[in-house]
Amino acid sequence: MKLFKLRGGVHPEGWKGLAAERAIRVLPLPERLFVPLQQHVGAPAQPLIKVGEHVLKGQIIGASQGFISAPVHASTSGRIVAIGDYTAAHPSGLAAPTVTIESDGEDRWLETDSPSDPFSLLPEEIAAAVGAAGIVGLGGATFPSAVKLNLSRKNNVRTLIINGGECEPYITCDDRLMRERASDIIEGVRLIRYAVGAVDVMVGIEENKPAALASMRAAAAGTEVQVIAVPAMYPMGWDKQMIRALTGREVPADGRSADIGVLVHNVATAYAVRDAVRFGRPLVSRLVTVSGGAVAEPGNLEVPIGTLVETLFQYCGGFSEKPARMVLGGPMMGIELFTAAVPVVKGTSGVLALTAREIGSTQASPCIRCSSCVRACPVGLLPLEMAAHIRAGDSNAAVSRGLKDCIACGCCSFVCPSHIPLVHYFNFAKGELMEQERGKLKQEATRKLADERIARTQRIERERQEAAEKRKAAREAREFAAKQAALQTTTEVA
């Protein structure tokens, strides 16, 4: 199969060996789980339970709100002990609405009936099952999967691409999943294909994962699923990059992949879809890579959603040395954690404890305009110019240079010889612009309110005047009548 030419990208040190060669282990059930109500893109889920209530594993505890949203389920059986704010896995360290479950140790599933043959279901029913299971993009985007399925079916998507590109260094959970549970993934892939009515199915896996390629090829043999090796580079796991590599087409900047007839899902998502459709089991656990130079025994764990990150590190033997930085996600796009007491969510692919040596120098020096960042950018932006304008306080100039197309992949910061935090600049500017946007919307709304108020006060004033005039006229009429009457009486008297 011919692959298409890609642009930009970098080749960071992989560090995959730390965790990739050890089989998946199941984390023993923690005592408490902290399940945030928003683990996806879109509106947060609405809590459906009360404190003190007992829930079963897989029971819905937060309902989907609106079109782009996803429900949240209990990750184990137990008692709800709190519904309130808890530190979120977010760089701000702010709290988010979270449901705390105290495990009863039984880990009992909610009884559900599941179809004997999932392929006998209607495509709509599969999408509904995926939606009810709370499945979101597990590659990290956390976009509700059912929304994508429905959209793709309506758009007559022809090509289904399954993204097995795991380009972040250290992270190997998808690699392990493909090695150990290939046939389950393939079944999930075929279910997705059936649900959207796609014709071609391609699984793109980077060529630096020969074991995963071999097991996936073996599992896909005899099915309509094609397993294709793609070049190993970062960011190969960017869905649009995968689309370009496999189809040679680009997703329009203002559109979605469905606009060019392509649907992309992650391998882990496909696996979760199979669980949801075949067994009626919602997404309550996921594979998480625990790795980094400071972790004693790196590996991949199957973890209930809501487990604290510190529990994962403890299970992996604690730290062999004091980590310089703890990271949620991969080193290229992950976020630094200032506390390990934050819960694992649906989008968490890994937790890392990195040593100072692995992070490398962070001391920034002036930009020498070497344009390494321009060559590395997979999108085709000019990071150095955008950052220079943002630094000078002109974020709008950065927008006209493509800030909104930036995917924050980190390639530019990675290669910068001056160690300039380019992506940090971009995220700052995006936040600033978003705030301005919100301000503008509010301004428009308040202007409308002000106009309405002015109109209303004028109307009231006018009405009052009219009323006053009416009263005056009435009084005059009355007085006139009285006078007339008086006149009449006098004449009568006279």
Binding site: A388, H389, R391, A392
Partner: protein, 193 residues
Amino acid sequence: MSEYLLLLLSTALVNNVVLVKFLGLCPFMGISKKMDTALSMGLATTFVITFTTAGSWLLEHWLLMPLGIEYLRILTYILVIAAVVQFTEMVIRKVSPPLYQVLGIYLPLITTNCAVLGLPLLNVQEKSGFAVSLIGGFGSSVGFTLVLVLFAGMRERIALASVSSTFAGAPIAFITAGMLALAFMGFAGLVPH
């Protein structure tokens, strides 16, 4: 033909109106903060200079010289310049209000751009013919536009640089202009006189 081409080259590059003759420095410093504006200003000035060199030559040879009133030269030239600038201003205001806003006071000030008056006067001094005056004027204004745009590009970049406060703004702009003039010295001798 090649003579005119050389004239064009000579007036645009070798004897650049800004960097070699030091005419028109006011808009050169004033309207060179943004590349797009600089280009528009350059084009407006090109229009004005081309027309005034032609117009003033005609007046010189058909009006002033026959009547023997050369002493009114500067007065009449300024009359022509002012009229052409006024006309340009009206056109720009109609065609592109934002540009009109951006050029602001510099648009009427083309009138006092010494290059606009200087070039016709130099033509008289050198007793140039009509074609030479016209092409010389056009070449000079193209050279003006060229350095204005080059300079604006560099100033856009310098605006982002962390120039120390002592030199920020006009001082560093003047230093840059000096360096640009150094670079243009390379064209010296390119066109034999």
